[in-house]
Amino acid sequence: MPDTWQYLALMAGCLAITLPLEFFPGVRVYRDPARVAIALVPVVVVFVVWDLVGIARGHWDFNERFVTGWQLGPLPVEELVFFVVIPLCTVLTYEAVGSVLRLLRSRREGVDA
């Protein structure tokens, strides 16, 4: 794999590692794309703006060795991918934690009954 794919590969790894969470009992993230869109679109907008401000003000820059060079204006495509992938992983984590907590509680209630 060329070095320029490294950032994208890291994002793919995040998606791969969190994918099994979709199959925890009661978790529906990828299968509820409308809800995903409602949650993600404002986040992408707000954080792309923050990213653009950061780039414009020189807060950070990207190492051309590890990015594809595909740009949306001043924004590397990888950054847009980041703002979709990381929130998705976060929602999957939150749903999986909820799933495990439900299982623990139902087990406890089963013992109590």
Binding site: R28, D32, A39, G54, R57, H59, I86, G98
Partner: protein, 126 residues
């Protein structure tokens, strides 16, 4: 205060106010949120650690715009403000959005409480 430091610090009370006052999702009062964020932060260190490592950085930070505090590894501490705000915001919007699909339909479309985000926490409304 350096600009990125200032923005990262400011973003946290803004998101907290959104949760507790504006949208009243009250995620911050639930154990489920804090457990999730603990897991997210662990993986943040791995992913951001890779993005920011000084011997082969993917993202390069300005010394002027940051505090210079980098921990753990070479992660600028400001990134945790940025990351926590982003992840908290998406969860606030996620729990506000209603799950799709008729409840009780086939497959695993079992009933799901619309306010499921409160079930695991100590939060008691009102």
């Amino acid at each position: 205060m350096p600009e990125y430091t200032l923005l990262a610090v400011l973003s946290l009370p803004i998101v907290a106010a959104l949760d507790l006052v504006v949208l009243r999702t009250r995620l911050l009062l639930t154990a489920r949120y804090w457990l999730s964020m603990a897991i997210v932060l662990f993986f943040t260190v791995l992913v951001d650690g890779w993005l920011t490592k000084l011997d082969a950085p993917i993202v390069v930070y300005s010394a002027e715009a940051t505090s210079g505090l980098r921990w753990p590894w070479d992660i600028p501490v400001e990134d945790f403000g940025f990351g926590i705000s982003m992840c908290t915001l998406v969860l606030i919007l996620w729990v506000r959005a209603t799950p799709a699909g008729p409840v009780g339909r086939g497959g695993d479309g079992r009933p799901r409480p619309a306010s499921g985000h409160r079930e695991a926490g100590p939060a008691t409304a009102g």
